[in-house]
């Protein structure tokens, strides 16, 4: 082995590292060769300081003992390191990967190295790279098993969110899945729906997220439509969707429009939203594909786009300004996509001049049909005709790579009814479907991920863990009231605290709930519960302050200066309310009504609305759940504690709550009361959400637990707590336990605000 000079290295430690590496690689010719090649490549770029840092990073990797493949991967990466990227980033990555490898093992390091060029490209500037590497190091410390899973998906993740978004997603994931390893693995390999949701709903920032509220408001304002707006779904590895799409009334927008200049992004989303609105308003039925050829399908869609826009502009002429900037086709070029863009512009823009025979024909036919624009059939017939013509012109058209232009238009999947009849010519149909769905097919499916083989097993384990998780810690015992003996049985029930069930998936709330939530928010914010304060000696007020009046009269008689502040008034004091929401999580809550809605779902919806309202209002709130399995096992689950914010992980925990076992209400209420009494507040409220009356497996006297719960209610009220119950679902009778004025029925979530108002009204006294 020849000793290479270390002339290209400027730092002493760098030189030392280089020498040491050369010595270590002396007996391993393949590594030495790779090292030399990498050094040569780095030398060629100059930058003696960076080179030194690189040698140190390499030494770190060697000393971390991550195996030869890792070292080879790093050396190969160094040799081919792109010129536009500084070597310092490579050195930085090397150092971080050594640290990650020490925590998460050589294979994690290798996966990261293998995918590094792809994801580092997404990270932007050096500062971003530093932060990203720091996050990955942190992940390797807190959840070493997830790094290898995450590596192949990093590029995709970073295409969707920026570094802040990535950090938020990662931290939420660590919090949400803290005690469940298999869940955590699923989360970080993007297989867990919660993970996707966090990515979508968390603090992740994409263009769409920034504009989402505006798009929703625009849709409502312009079209009077209140429809769900969602980002295009992420499928790991697949290319992100590049156009909007709609299915029924569900609208999907790309997270980003790649390549759109920053100053036109808002205008582009606005145009896209308006186009979808025009479809929802004027495209009444889907077209059947029938015997149409792919080219015809595309052209029918194009005519339909032009038709709905023309109709929309009749009602709102200003919409032209929305769409106009994106029609940029010029009368040159003869490939199919170019001709279609030209036709799209010709149909949209009367001032556009285009001599091409086919474009002229399309425009003439479309204009002639002006009186028929309200009929969707003209799109079908015109599109079919023009598609046929274009087909005969023998222009190149590849349905698999076709993309709708102009960019604001949707991908047209929402226009077509895809038949699923098996006896039709299946291949043709597949192609039709492809034609309309091409955009998602552009890139090949990703390589299988390293852990896919294990996944079924993981799912099994998740389930096993869920059923076993009722093993909790006994935390307290409480007496129980025996109404037959008319005495308390001391230490009769045992509270077993169990951790919350694995976090669930946050279902998008129905629009009706949004409305209820909004009203509940306003209600909670307006109803500040606190001590009323009597202010004396005011210059204005309801009544005269007699003491001040007497003083004033005395002063006047004594010819002293007069104080005119002689009034008295009452003002509300600062907010001071602590509320504990106790959820009944017994088996009976799983019973579904005719529509498949369970009481548990209703409870969760109600809890979600109340909790977010109270959280927004700034009052203290805890959410606990309970069920029971005999008197020795009254399971008690803290879903949200007073000091936690009501954020996504907590909501996911609430969504994951499941029903099982029975309802020993009294014992759970006593424990909840004990939790509440530790809070200092003007009003302390225990609010029980339940679907029915108490019952347990060891109790056969129907009155026993009812009487016990009644006793518990009275005892809690005697200590100064306010105890209320919301009966969720139909036909719940809680009057006996809570008293008719405190047992409020919420047969449906729509009834919630008025019941909440009653609750506040009672609390105000």
């Amino acid at each position: 082995m020849t000793r290479r000079s270390t002339a290209g290295i400027a730092s002493l430690s760098g030189v030392r590292a280089a020498r040491r590496i050369t010595a270590l690689f002396d007996s391993r010719p393949d590594l030495a060769r790779a090292h030399e090649a990498a050094e040569r490549s780095l030398d060629a770029r100059g930058g003696a300081l960076e080179h030194g840092a690189w040698e140190e990073a390499l030494l770190g990797l060697v000393e971390s003992n991550l195996g030869k493949p890792t070292l080879l991967a790093f050396l190969r990466l160094s040799e081919t390191w792109p010129h536009e990227r500084p070597v310092t980033q490579l050195a930085m990555a090397g150092r971080s990967i050594a640290a990650i490898g020490r925590e998460a093992g050589g294979s994690a390091a290798r996966y990261l190295l293998a995918t590094l060029p792809a994801w580092i490209r997404r990270a932007g500037d050096s500062q971003d790279v530093t932060r990203l590497l720091a996050s990955l190091e942190r992940l390797s410390r807190d959840a070493p098993d997830t790094v290898a899973l995450l590596a192949p998906r990093l590029e995709h993740l970073l295409a969707v969110v920026d570094i802040d978004g990535f950090n938020a997603w990662m931290m939420s994931g660590l919090r949400a899945t803290a005690e469940d390893r298999s869940r955590r693995r699923a989360y970080f390999s993007l297989d867990d729906p919660l993970s996707q949701q966090m990515l979508a709903r968390g603090d992740a920032i994409s263009d769409f997220r920034c504009l989402e509220p505006r798009l929703a408001a625009q849709m409502t304002a312009l079209w009077g439509l209140r429809v769900p707006i969602r980002p295009a779904p992420l499928s790991p590895g697949a290319a992100p969707q590049r156009r909007t799409s709609f299915a029924g009334t569900l609208l999907r927008f790309p997270e980003r429009y790649a390549g759109a200049p920053a100053d036109t992004v808002a205008a582009l989303y606005r145009a896209a939203g308006a186009h979808l609105g025009a479809h929802l308003t004027h495209t009444r039925h889907r077209f059947a594909i029938g015997t149409l050829k792919p080219l015809q399908v595309v052209l029918v869609s194009l005519i339909e786009d032009a038709r709905v826009e023309a109709l929309a502009m009749r009602a709102m002429p200003g919409l032209r300004h929305f769409w106009n900037p994106f029609h940029v086709a010029s009368p040159q070029g003869g490939t199919a996509p170019v001709l279609m863009a030209r036709l799209a512009r010709a149909l949209f823009d009367p001032a556009y001049d285009d001599e091409h025979g086919w474009v002229v024909k399309g425009r003439t036919l479309f204009t002639q049909a002006q009186d028929q624009w309200h009929r969707a059939e003209i799109s079908r017939s015109l599109g079919g005709l023009l598609g046929n013509d274009l087909g005969q012109m023998r222009v190149q058209f590849n349905p698999r790579t076709h993309i709708v232009e102009p960019v604001y238009r949707d991908d047209n999947t929402g226009l077509w009814d895809f038949p699923d009849a098996p006896d039709a010519a299946i291949e043709d149909i597949a192609l039709m479907v492809d034609t309309a769905r091409i955009e998602r097919r552009e890139e090949p499916a990703p390589d299988p991920t390293p852990d896919q083989a294990q996944e079924p097993d993981d799912v099994g384990r998740t389930r096993a863990a869920a059923t076993a998780s009722m093993e909790g810690i006994p935390v307290a015992t409480y007496p129980e009231w025996d109404h037959v003996l008319a005495r308390d049985r001391s230490d009769w029930t045992t509270i077993v605290e169990v951790p919350p069930a694995p976090a669930g998936v946050l279902a998008p709330s129905p629009a009706a709930n949004d409305d209820v939530a909004r009203r509940a928010d306003a209600l909670a914010r307006a109803a500040s519960i606190g001590r009323r304060i009597r202010e004396k000696r005011r210059s204005d007020g309801e009544n005269l302050d007699i003491d001040a009046c007497i003083a004033a009269v005395i002063n006047r008689r004594a010819r002293q200066p007069l104080d005119h502040r002689v009034y008295l008034r009452h003002i509300p004091g600062p907010r001071d309310l602590a509320l504990l929401l106790l959820l009944d999580l017994s088996e009976s809550t799983n019973d579904a009504d005719g529509d498949g809605h369970t009481a548990l779902m209703a409870e969760k919806d109600t809890a979600e609305v109340i909790a977010s309202a109270i959280d927004v209002a700034g009052d203290a709130l805890a959410v606990h759940g309970f069920c029971s399995d005999g008197r020795h096992k009254v399971f008690y689950t803290p879903i949200k504690d007073f000091d936690e914010p009501f954020d996504l992980p907590v909501r996911a925990r609430l969504a994951g709550a499941r029903g099982g076992f029975s309802t020993r209400l009294g014992a759970a209420m006593r424990h909840a009361g004990a939790c509440l009494t530790t809070r200092r507040a003007f009003r302390r409220v225990l609010l029980v959400l339940t679907d029915g009356e108490p019952a347990d497996i060891d109790i056969f006297d129907a009155d026993y637990l009812v009487e016990d719960a009644r006793r518990a209610t009275q005892a809690l009220r005697a200590t100064g707590l306010d105890v209320f119950a919301f009966g969720v679902g139909d036909g719940v009778h809680l009057d006996r336990i809570f008293g008719p004025r405190y047992a409020l029925r919420v047969p449906h979530i729509v009834a919630l605000p008025s019941q909440l108002m009653q609750l506040y009204a009672r609390l105000k006294r």
Binding site: A217, A221, A274, M316, G318, A522, L523, L544, M757
Partner: protein, 266 residues
């Protein structure tokens, strides 16, 4: 006592939308308490003024607010050189001297305040001044009119059932588009097609009621926008100043409203 300051001498413009004038005339004939319901800026106050002018009665208007107490309505003791003196509030003045008393946005007032009108609104027609130990029988010309916006905040602020049931009610809505354009055109003296565009914009903003906005753009706002345009301000700026910015502080909603303005502009 003379209430001349409260008399309306020139006719306030009011465009009837239905038979509300005949209804109010009939109600006044029996001094029936009236409740006017409807969103803000749709013409409730203008209607009362118009009716007061028609009936040649003085009109005492009280804008109700959250901190308003019963004393603010009926009166209070004040301290003066010789001790305490009683001062009638606006309601007591109207009751004594005979006027139409109009309590605007009554739901804003605290619930314990609104109960002072109860003895006035049934067949007793008296106003007890509890603090003074006096009972004022209502003047034969006295009539009570309240207005009430059954809008968004009505979950929190609603009239007590016992208050509601004392009144006959007229429901006001935003007028039909052509009528609204007529009103806007006449109030602001602008061309009909500009008024139509403004009404179209208002309709879009009303779609957002309950979905971000507590209330859409009112007729009053349209008149304001039209007046600005009459002074040479272009449509988009006039709408920005008179509609978009007053309606909401939410940047995204403002953008959506501006989109609506742009979409409706010719």
């Amino acid at each position: 006592m003379t209430l001349d300051a409260y008399r309306i001498t020139t006719e306030p413009y009011y465009r009837p939308l239905g038979d509300e004038i005949a209804l109010f005339d009939a109600a006044y004939a029996t001094r029936m308490p009236m409740m006017l319901k409807g969103p803000t800026g749709c013409g409730k106050t203008r209607f009362v003024e118009h009716m007061a002018w028609r009936l040649k009665q003085p009109l005492i208007t009280v804008a109700c607010h959250e901190d308003m107490t019963a004393s603010d309505l009926v009166g209070r003791w004040l301290l003066d050189a010789d001790g305490t003196t009683w001062h009638d509030g606006p309601l007591a003045t109207a009751v004594r001297a005979g006027a139409i008393c109009y309590l605007d946005e009554i739901v804003e007032a605290r619930q314990d305040t609104t109960v002072v009108i109860h003895p006035l609104t049934d067949d007793r027609r008296i106003l007890p001044l509890e603090k003074r130990g006096e009972l004022i029988p209502a003047h034969p010309d006295f009539q009570l009119v309240i207005s009430y916006n059954p809008g968004y905040q009505s979950v929190i602020k609603d009239l007590k059932e016992s208050t509601k049931q004392r009144f006959a009610a007229i429901d006001f809505r935003y007028p039909a588009p052509d009528v609204e354009a007529e009103i806007v055109g006449r109030e602001a003296r602008i061309a009909a097609e500009i008024a139509m565009t403004l009404v179209a914009i208002a309709e879009r903003s009303r779609h957002l009621k309950g979905h971000g906005l507590d209330e859409g753009a009112s007729t009053r706002m349209l008149v304001n926008a039209a007046r600005l345009m009459g002074r040479g301000i272009p449509l988009s700026q006039a709408c920005d100043a008179a509609l978009v910015v007053p309606l909401t502080d939410d940047a995204q909603l403002r953008e959506a409203l501006r989109d609506a303005v742009l979409a409706c502009a010719a």
